[in-house]
């Protein structure tokens, strides 16, 4: 191509560039490790990517860096202690792990928690779902360049964690549920805090949704990215928002209700596009539906006990907040020490040996923010679980990640990984 007439020196244009020397670039691919120490992998996920220039040729997720042996540990602890272990698995959705575990054991025992406990469980779980999705939207927005949403998302999540802290004493890893109910009732003022949250959150969630759906960068980087057809997702075992974003109406709360979910009114949001943007839409809509469920919980919250009556099964104790933290109330201590020998023996037996669960096995799935969280609990009739197997949705969902990223650009790998929302604590257990 001829030089522009006024140019004092030859100008190189695309056509005049020498092509020969660069051809070699396409002859071999490059293998690169993304992670395990990478900010966009939500923990310690390692992706072995094979790249042809900027294009991903193959992707192999490598997991296991966060393995803590919780399944093995559960086999060596009493049934009630299991709650404190499982809550530490998927650290963004502790209540779902607790709920699945306690319901599985309750099914083995053939008991059901009192109504108040069941409503509180659902209420806290749905708040947990909102908190988890807020973290998802916050971190994903950060990775794709919308930093302010990150700050807002974590701010609102903190208001929810404040309620959890009020109820259980801990922001995360609560161990608040017990086989046969809850460890203690909601403290004074918790209900009012939930009501205040219900007034605050709808507007905020709407705001964040607008903030992102009107953000051209966000839309550009998620729409049409990471598409996987629904049949393939079913084959790969993917569940949760990923599957619903591909048009499959599968929500464990609807399909096989547990813990009283059949009594609540809510919609299961489904989108057909199957891309990262649809997953975003599904999660935003799910938060609104969770708020609806929390609203119904607050309205119906019945009075009554939060533990089953059976003294052979209910965890002994009557906790209250004293001057030196949470502990057994003076009334209860006096009861077992001064008044009733049977109560003392019962307390001693249940604390040192725990309960016995009849032999059997049960698979209890629940709908966690990431999909089907299943607990396969096996009992051999002793005071310890024989086997606690956890089907964690993050683990199974990660299998579909290669199908999302292969053929796309490296930069889209970040968007796709985020759209799967893996929590490595749950993947590696």
């Amino acid at each position: 191509m001829a030089d522009p007439p006024d140019a004092p020196f030859p100008v190189e244009t695309a056509e005049s560039m020498p092509h020969e020397p660069y051809r070699g670039l396409h002859e071999e691919t490059m293998v690169i490790n993304m992670g395990p120490q990478h900010p966009s992998t939500h923990g310690v996920l390692r992706l072995v990517l094979e790249l042809d220039g900027e294009n991903v040729v193959s992707c192999r997720p490598v997991v296991g860096y966060l393995h803590t042996g919780i399944e093995k540990n559960c086999e060596w602890r009493s049934w009630q202690q299991g709650v404190a272990f499982v809550t530490r698995m998927d650290y963004l959705s502790p209540f779902f792990n607790e709920m699945a575990y306690v319901i599985a054991v309750e099914r083995l025992l053939g008991i059901e928690a009192p109504e108040r406990a069941r409503v509180i469980r659902v209420m806290l779980s749905e708040l947990n779902r909102i908190a988890s999705h807020l973290v998802w939207v916050a971190t994903t927005a950060l990775e794709l360049g919308a930093v302010s949403v990150m700050l807002y998302g974590f701010r609102e999540r903190e208001t929810i964690l404040d309620i959890f802290e009020l109820a259980s004493g801990l922001r995360m890893n609560h161990a608040y549920m017990r086989i046969g109910g809850l460890v203690m009732d909601l403290p004074e003022g918790a209900e009012e805090r939930v009501r205040a949250l219900l007034r605050l959150l709808p507007g905020r969630i709407h705001e964040y949704e607008n903030l992102l759906s009107a953000n051209p960068i966000w839309v550009e980087r998620t729409r049409g990215i990471g598409h996987v057809p629904s049949e393939q997702l079913i084959d790969l075992g993917a569940t949760g928002p990923i599957l619903r974003a591909s048009g499959v109406d599968y929500d464990v709360r609807r399909a096989t209700p547990y813990g009283g979910y059949e009594q609540y009114e809510f919609d299961v949001p489904v989108r057909g596009e199957g891309d990262c943007y649809a997953r975003f839409e599904v999660r935003m809509e799910e938060m609104k539906q969770s708020l609806r469920i929390v609203q119904q919980c607050v309205e119906r919250l019945p009075r009554g006990p939060v533990k089953i009556e059976d003294p052979k099964l209910r965890f002994p104790g009557d906790l209250e907040v004293g001057p030196d933290g949470i502990g057994n109330s003076e009334r209860y201590v006096r009861h077992i020490m001064d008044e009733s020998m049977e109560a003392l023996i019962n307390h001693f037996k249940l604390v040192t040996q725990g309960i016995r669960v009849p032999p059997g096995e049960v698979y209890q799935p629940v709908e966690s923010p990431r999909g089907e969280l299943g607990y396969y609990v096996v009992s051999d009739g002793t005071n310890r679980p024989y086997r606690v197997r956890v089907r964690d949705p993050s683990f199974v969902n990660l299998q579909s990640l290669p199908h999302m990223v292969v053929g796309g650009l490296v930069a889209d790998t970040v968007a796709c990984t985020a759209s799967v929302d893996p929590v490595m604590g749950g993947v590696d257990r």
Binding site: G64, G69, G374
Partner: protein, 140 residues
């Protein structure tokens, strides 16, 4: 439902293709170790049907000497990682699996941790070239 290991794939295939059952989704695949029983290992498949919304658990018992079973990855691709995990934790071999390696534990790990005869407790560690004894053997 209990099936013989060599009939497993055929059973799952018919459970999947039968229109009244239509178990098209493999929720979970796991194993249990019963050292005192014959057979010792039990592999459990949790199935679900999107059409009928029902669940089923299929189990197969495997002998201690030869814990092998056919892979179901051809039928349910999701079994890929799940079978690798069972192999990792129990040492059960899945014939026909495309890539049967450890998944959670490091590749050079000794033993299969979720077996009942695998001791719970300390594991030695290599730290900066030194070998550090397990906690319960340090004699402190």
């Amino acid at each position: 439902m209990i099936v013989a290991p060599d009939e497993l794939v055929a059973s799952l295939e018919s459970l999947r293709s039968d229109a009244d059952l239509a178990f098209d989704f493999l929720s979970d695949l796991s194993a249990t170790d019963w050292p005192d029983r014959v057979p010792r290992f039990w592999v459990a498949y949790q199935l679900y049907s999107f059409r009928h919304r029902h669940r089923l658990r299929v189990k197969a018992g495997l002998a201690e000497e030869l814990p092998r079973i056919d892979s179901v990855t051809g039928l349910y691709p999701t079994a890929d990682w799940l079978e690798r995990e069972v192999f990792d934790f129990f040492g059960i071999v899945f014939d026909g699996h495309p890539d049967l390696r450890r998944i959670i534990m490091p590749d050079d790990w000794d033993g299969h941790p979720l077996r009942k005869d695998y001791a719970l407790g300390g594991v030695g560690t290599h730290y900066r070239g030194a070998f550090i004894l397990p906690v319960d053997e340090r004699g402190m």
